[in-house]
């Protein structure tokens, strides 16, 4: 019966049936073959998985990110970052990375970060003589920071699926996020040196101050959101709604660059983007329930532990599974499907639940830039009208750096677990 269930799931998914519907329909098939459970369980489990207050942070963070993109906040952040690091060799590539880090500290989504920053910086980089393929690849990889640097939609999904504290995950993501940012900055420097990409003119101190004040309210936003969460002032959901209201107030009354008709569109689009992710959450809840009552996670544990007893070997296997999953599956969907399958085995082998979450999230961030299916690659390919294959070739060195980062994050757990333990 379980075999029929998994086969139907794969057939449906590869037929192009939306993942949420594939998960739902194969569970319907599984349940009909299982005499005990009534089919009313299907809508009920979907309802139960969605009826959760922590999940509401997802639409709010998506909305906050879109509001920032609609106004001039992203442009102001770019200007400020340019004044700081623009004059280094490979300066603009570094600006793309640093601004993406800032933007990611508010939006929580890789595609949103890539679109908002890339649309400004890729043309600017090309104008400064950067090869357009490299500019696109650099932006795609920098955008992946969106799901590593907290707040992160992917971490909320993991936290809900694995029942791990979302605040802890957010704190755990900080150092790995910095590690990846710094390694990307170093790579930008060497690539620029090799290709002769010069920096912009060094800005005098007063104009750095000016750029800082112009971007002040945008820089303050992550401070409020993350500071609020880390100090225990806000729950992640509360922080997300504060971020929305803050972005609204700044956009409407301080910078005055968002119009009311624009707002209606932003709200509608954000609601649709949220629904797309959250329908998968509902269906994955149903899927998780079904494989749970059929003891699939136990079977996986029994199978794996019969030949892997060392958690480090297991984590290597997990990294490989995640790498290939990330190539084909959207990150959020991958987390929701894989957490119920692998989480039990990971904790049984002694992997820290928060550390495991960080490993999953950074791997799926890598999935954003690995072809054939990588959302960040799609976004930059739309921005530049270049084919994904051409961009991907320039992304390979950057992908290798991310792989190295992932191995460091995997085999050096304190990077993820030290900060959360400190703040307890």
């Amino acid at each position: 019966m379980l075999i029929a269930f998994f086969i139907s799931l794969f057939v449906l998914m590869f037929l192009g049936v939306p993942i949420a519907i594939s998960l739902g329909l194969s569970t319907v098939l599984g349940i009909t073959m299982h005499e005990v459970i009534p089919l009313e369980t299907v809508p009920q489990r979907i309802f139960v998985s969605l009826n959760s207050f922590p999940l509401m942070a997802i639409p709010f963070f998506i909305l906050a990110g879109n509001l920032m993109g609609a106004g001039s906040m992203s442009k102001r952040l770019v200007n400020f970052a340019s004044s700081l690091v623009g004059h280094f060799t490979g300066g603009l590539a570094m600006v793309a990375i640093v601004t993406s880090m800032f933007f990611a500290a508010i939006s929580g989504s890789g595609a949103a970060t890539t679109a908002a920053i890339g649309s400004i910086l890729i043309p600017a980089m090309v104008a400064r003589g950067y090869k357009i393929e490299y500019a696109a690849a650099n932006q795609a990889v920098a955008g992946a920071l969106g799901i590593i640097i907290p707040p992160s939609v992917a971490m909320i999904l993991y936290g809900v699926a694995a029942e791990v504290s979302i605040s802890d995950l957010f704190i755990a993501g900080i150092l790995p996020g910095f590690l990846i940012t710094i390694s990307l900055l170093i790579s930008a420097f060497f690539i620029a040196k090799k290709n002769g990409y010069q920096g912009t003119e060094k800005q005098p101190f007063p104009s750095i101050v000016k750029a800082f004040f112009e971007a002040f309210f945008a820089i303050l936003m992550p401070v409020i959101v993350l500071g609020g969460i880390y100090s225990g002032f806000f729950t992640p959901t509360e922080a997300s709604v504060v971020a929305v209201v803050y972005a609204l107030v700044v956009g409407l009354f301080i910078y005055r660059d968002i119009t009311i008709p624009q707002l209606a569109v932003v709200f509608k689009d954000s609601a649709i983007s949220s629904s797309i992710i959250m329908l998968v959450i509902g269906a994955a809840g149903l899927f998780g329930f079904f494989i749970g009552i059929n003891s699939v996670p136990d079977m996986i544990y029994d199978t794996i532990s019969s030949f892997i007893t060392n958690k480090y070997v297991f984590l290597l296997v997990v990294n490989i599974i995640l790498f290939f999953t990330g190539m084909f599956l959207e990150g959020g969907a991958a987390i929701l499907i894989l957490v119920p399958l692998l989480f039990g085995t990971a904790t049984n082998l002694g992997v820290d639940p928060v550390h495991f979450g960080v490993i999953m999230v950074v791997n799926l961030a890598l999935g954003l830039v690995t072809p054939p299916v990588g959302i960040d690659l799609f976004v930059v390919s739309q921005l530049t009208n270049l084919s994904i294959v051409r961009i991907a070739r320039y992304a390979i060195p950057l992908i290798l750096i991310l792989v190295l980062d992932i191995l460091i994050i995997t085999y050096f757990p304190p990077l993820s677990t030290w900060l959360p333990s400190l703040l307890k």
Partner: protein
Amino acid sequence: MKKIGKVYLNLMDHVNTIIGYLLALSLFFTTMITFWQVVSRFIGSSLSWSEELTRFLMIFMIMLGAAIAHRKNKLISVEIVVEQLKGWMKEVSFYLMHLFSIVFFIVLIVYGMNLASNFTNQIAPGTGISMKYIYMSLPIGGGLMLLNSLASLIEHWMKGDETSC
């Protein structure tokens, strides 16, 4: 036959426009209510109904939003195999995709209605709304997704007809 198709597509466009407004409004209200909840927590008078109401609004928003996303083919799916297909194989996969989706929507509608009617006597503790109406979000969403699946099928069929003429 074509005329009916056109009327139907037109009708669904209007339905989806209305859903779009409802989506924007429900996200706006969930924002406002949740923000008010945060503020009131700091003032010291916690609200008992706000969290529950926002959760219910969100579930309706998800089901309605999914319907629009399905019409625009934006639900997350694995497209890599289907994109490689050509000619009649591509056609078949398109129809199968919608057919399987519709089967699931029917399950959602039928068993969602059953589920809702099981909860006729249960009242949500914070807002006092009958849980029956809250559970109706699933069959309503399933119904709208089904209607949108039909719209996509009709649109595809009408386009196919034009090119073959």
